[in-house]
Amino acid sequence: MNRTSRLARAGWGAHPVLSLLVATVWLLMQESLVVPQLITAALLGLLVPRLFHRFIGPRVRLRRAGLLLRFIVLVLWDILISNLTVARIVLTPGSNPKPAWVRVPLETQNHTAIVMLATIITATPGTVSCIVDEERREILVHALDCDDPEAMAGQIKQRYEAPLKEILG
């Protein structure tokens, strides 16, 4: 009892999601599931977050892991579709895309959610997060071809921010 609370204070296992990620990445890099590698993965998963806890901020909590999977599929699908849209803009001779700056006001205050939202915006072709302003709670997005910035901001919020808020709280 006393021992576990001391361990918790020292930060062992304070970032379970990160620990799991580190261990998984290690095993994928080794391409092996033999026992010594499993032990190494477990040690690294415990050690790395402990060593770097000063740099990694608050722990990530997954409130709804099932929704996360559905969300990943949705994002991959959107990446595919917008790739095709942008490819069409590039390949159409004489196409004249209308670039625009889109301000996306943020509702979530969760640091991880904001970072993930900015990353997803950039990963989907056609939009790039240019300024992530956590103080003013706003992301400034450059859109390659956009007629209605406000509609686009609304779509980003509804499609990505709302599920992220639900997953990460």
Binding site: V25, L27, L28, M29, E31, I79, L80, N83, V86, A87, I89, V90, L91, P97, K98, P99, A100, W101, R103, A118, T119, I121, T122, A123, T124, P125, G126, V128, S129, C130, I131, V132, D133, L140, H142, L144
Partner: protein
Amino acid sequence: MMTTMTMSDLPLWAEILISLMLVTGGLFVLIGAIGMVRFPDFYMRLHAPTKATTLGVGGVLLASMGYSWQTGHFGAGELLIGPFLFLTAPVSANLLAKAALHLRVPTRAEVPPDIPLD
């Protein structure tokens, strides 16, 4: 470990599928490059590299994974390249955009006036 297996040892359907994914991936990287040449301002050209890292690299990675499976490996390394790119490409794009806004690089679209650029 060295394998002496070559592409011609694969079944025909696997060869076709892997080649198809390689060509698709290469095509999207090429489209990204054409976009970089065609687009008129810095911020629009910024969209090209983020595009190449998604479908273009995705296609090449899928092809590589398919080849690994066919030659009896798991191909887990490829599973990692995708997420690593997903994490790093947006960071560099964001820094480039920030630097450009700070230097007031001209843009075809109007930057909202009350955005702090410094």
